[in-house]
Subunit: 397 residues, 2 copies
C-alpha cells in the first residue's frame, strides 16, 4: 500500500529529529561525543532508587502498579508542591500536573493552545525537541535572538507589538530562561520581570521550561519567571530527568488550574497517566529528603567538568570566538567569528573522532546567525576527553 496517500498533513512534512540521528553516530566506540544532551549516568541515584523502590513496593504494590489519576499520584503532587514553594513558586495541588517527561509537557501545551498556523515565539537558538513538537502541530515559529543575558526582550516586544497591531498575537512565548539549552545563558532578573510585563500587557502565555535550574555551579540563585506570575500567564515545566534520571520519564507542570484542567483532559487521550510506579519511587525519594544530598553530590561533579570545558575553550579558541561561560546546566555555545557553516564541518570532526551539534539545528529555519555556532555538552564526557575533544575542534576551526 502507498501510505503517503493517507498520512496526515502534520506528519508528512515532519522530519526526524536531526540531533537523534547525530547521536547514533556519537555512540560509535572511540568517538568523543560533545553532542548529546544526556545527563551523566555517574550521577544517577542507583542505590537510593533501589531503596525507594523496595519501600513503595513493600508498602503499596497494589496501588502503584494499578491505573492512577491522570493528574498524578497525590503523594508526588504534594512533594512537588513543597519543592516549588521552596523555589518561590506559589501553587496548590490543582495547579500541578505530572507528565511523562517535559517533552509531553510541550505536547500538552501545543495540544491545548495551538491551531494549525498559530504563531509561537521561541528563543534563537532553542531546544530542537520543542521545535519538533511545535512543527508537528504546524505552528508558525518565530525566533528571537538570545544574547549573554538571555532572550532580547526589546526585540520580543517589538514583534508582539507589531502582531498586536495586526490583530493576531502569538499564542505563546517558549523560553528556557536558566542555563539555556543550547546557549548556556541565563535570563537576567530584570528581563524576567520585563517578560511578565509583556505577558500582562498583551495577554500572552509564557511557557517556561526549567530542567536545569537546580544544577547551578556558580553565581547566585535566580527566581523563575513563574515566581513573578501573579495572574496565571506562565505555564511552568520542570523535570526529574536531569536531577534524578531520565529513564523514569517523570516531569511536572505548574499553571493556572483552568489550564491544568484542560491539560488533564488532553492527557487522558495521550497516555491516561504517567507510570504510577515511577511516580511513587520519586515521591518517596523526595519525601525522604534525598534530593538535597543528591544535588550536593552531583553539582560539584558537573561543576568540575564545566570548569574544564570553559578553561579549555578559552585556551584553545581565545578571541576567535564569542562565548559566554555557563553558570550551570550542561551546555556551552561557541560562535566562531569566521563566516563558516559548522554543519559542513561535522563529518570532518567525526573523522577526527569528535561530535558536536551544529548551530543550525537549534533554529526553526536555516537561520544565518546560527550557522557559525556549535553546541558542546560536558555532561557525559570524561574530563580528559572534554579537553581532547575541544583541542581537536580548535584545530578544525
Amino acid at each position: 500500500m502507498d501510505y503517503n496517500k493517507i498520512f496526515s498533513d502534520g506528519i508528512v512534512s515532519l522530519p526526524p529529529s536531526p540531533i537523534r540521528e547525530l547521536l547514533k553516530v556519537s555512540q560509535r566506540p572511540g568517538v568523543i561525543s560533545l553532542a548529546g544532551g544526556n545527563p551523566s549516568p555517574d550521577t544517577f541515584p542507583v542505590e537510593d532508587l533501589k531503596i525507594c523502590f523496595e519501600k513503595v513496593m513493600g508498602e503499596k504494590p497494589q496501588k502503584i502498579l494499578q491505573y492512577s489519576p491522570t493528574e498524578g499520584l497525590s503523594e508526588l503532587i504534594e512533594a512537588v508542591r513543597s519543592l516549588s514553594l521552596e523555589d518561590g513558586i506559589k501553587c496548590e495541588m490543582d495547579n500541578i500536573l505530572i507528565t511523562t517527561g517535559s517533552q509531553q509537557g510541550m505536547d500538552l501545551v501545543c495540544k491545548i493552545l495551538l491551531n494549525p498556523g498559530d504563531e509561537v515565539i521561541v528563543e534563537l537558538p532553542t531546544y530542537p525537541g520543542s521545535l519538533h513538537t511545535l512543527r508537528s502541530y504546524k505552528a508558525k515559529i518565530t525566533g528571537v535572538p538570545v544574547d549573554e543575558k538571555g532572550i532580547n526582550v526589546n526585540l520580543l516586544e517589538d514583534i508582539i507589538r507589531e502582531r498586536a497591531m495586526k490583530g493576531k498575537i502569538p499564542k505563546f512565548i517558549y523560553t528556557i530562561p536558566t542555563f539555556q539549552n543550547p546557549s548556556g545563558t541565563t535570563l537576567s532578573e530584570e528581563r524576567r520581570k520585563y517578560i511578565i510585563q509583556i505577558a500582562k500587557k498583551y495577554e500572552i502565555i509564557v511557557v517556561e521550561d526549567d530542567p536545569y535550574s537546580k544544577l547551578r555551579y556558580s553565581g547566585k540563585f535566580i527566581k523563575s519567571i513563574k515566581s513573578y506570575d501573579e495572574e496565571g500567564f506562565v505555564i511552568y515545566m520542570n523535570s526529574f530527568s536531569k536531577i534524578f534520571c531520565p529513564g523514569v520519564r517523570v516531569a511536572w507542570m505548574i499553571a493556572d488550574k483552568e489550564i491544568i484542567k484542560k491539560m488533564i483532559i488532553a492527557k487522558q487521550g495521550m497516555d491516561l497517566h504517567t507510570s504510577s510506579l515511577n511516580q511513587a519511587i520519586i515521591a518517596e525519594f523526595l519525601k525522604q529528603g534525598k534530593l538535597k544530598s543528591h544535588l550536593d553530590r552531583i553539582v560539584p561533579y558537573y561543576r568540575e567538568k564545566c570548569d574544564i570545558m570553559v578553561k579549555t575553550v578559552n585556551e584553545c579558541f581565545g578571541n576567535r570566538i564569542i562565548f559566554t561561560s555557563p553558570e550551570g546546566g550542561f551546555f556551552s555555545w561557541i560562535t566562531l567569528k569566521q563566516d563558516i557553516d559548522t554543519k559542513e564541518f561535522i563529518y570532518k570532526a567525526i573523522e577526527r573522532g569528535v561530535v558536536y551539534v551544529p548551530g543550525s539545528s537549534f533554529g526553526p529555519g536555516e537561520e544565518k546567525e546560527l550557522k557559525s555556532s556549535l553546541r558542546l555538552s560536558f555532561a557525559t564526557v570524561n574530563k580528559n576527553d572534554i579537553k581532547k575533544g575541544i583541542e581537536i575542534l580548535s584545530e578544525i576551526f
Copy 2:
C-alpha cells in the same frame, strides 16, 4: 486571564472522559463497582516484578535509567517479537514500536493519519478512551453495530462502499476484535478474514486493539486480524496493562515499517520514549519465561469471576435481557429488552451501593441503540459482591 480566547479548537469542545468521572464515585467505601475497567490488583506479579527489577538494576542501571531509543529497548522489542510469532503474527524488529500504554498507541495512530474532519469507523459500542482520543483530533466518528459475532461486516462494507463512491473513504477502522470492551464479544474467524478483504479492496487501514486476547476462559484460541494481514493494512496494538500491570505504562504496536517510522517521528515529539526502567523490567520478565506461569495463575482467577457473573446475570435477569457470555476479558454487556435509558438509573444504583457504566458512554453520539444497555466488569470485584451487585441491579431494572 480569559483562557477561552486562546484554547485550541480541538480542546475547547472536548469533554472529560465520562467513565473517569464515574470512577471517582465508585471509589467510595462500601460501593460495589462493576464500572471500572481496571485489572484486579490480586493478579499483579509483585514478587516477579521485584526479582526482575533487582536483576536489571544490578546488571545495567546506567543504561536503563538513561534516555533510550524512541522505538523501545532492543531487548523488549526482541521479546515482543518472539511473543508475536507464537501468536501467528509475522514481524521483524522494525515492525515494532513500544508505547506508553495503548492509549498512546491510539494517539500515535491519530497523529500520523488524521486531519480534522477525517472519518473513522468504530464498533458500536466501543472503548470510550479511544473515542476520547479520536475526538481530540476532531475526527468524524461513525459507529457500526456489534452483534454476538463482533462487528457487522456487511454493514461495514456498505458504509465504506458508499463513501468510496463519493470519493472519500474513512481513514481507518478501529476494532477490538477479541473479548471486546465493552460488549465482551469476539469477532468470528470468518469476519476477520472478511475485514482483511475489505481492507485490501478499499485500501483502508484497520487498527486492531488487542489487550485481552491472552485472558481466554473458554472456547478456543482465535488468531488476530493482523495475522491474516499480508500487505500491511493492519496496525496492531497490544499492552502489558492487563497481563502484567497498568502502572508501568508499557504497550506495543506492530505495523508496516513505513508506518512505524512515522510513528517514531511522532513519538519523539510526544514523550521521547517509554520509561526505559519499566521496559527493562518487562523484557526480563518475558526473557525469564515468567509470562506463561503468570497467565496460568491469573486466567483461572478471572475465569471463576466471569463464571459467577454469567451465572448470576442469567439467574437474575432471565429473558428480560439480551446477553452474550464472554469467553474472556473483563466485560459483560447487558441489553434490557425494556425501552429505558440506563443513564437515568445510575444515581439510583449508586444510592443502592452499586455502580455500572451506562451504554450511552460507549458511542460517539447519543446512539439510541446503546441507551438500554450497561457494561459490567467482574475483574476487580470480589465474588460475593459480583453476585450481590447484580442482584441489586436486577431489582432496579
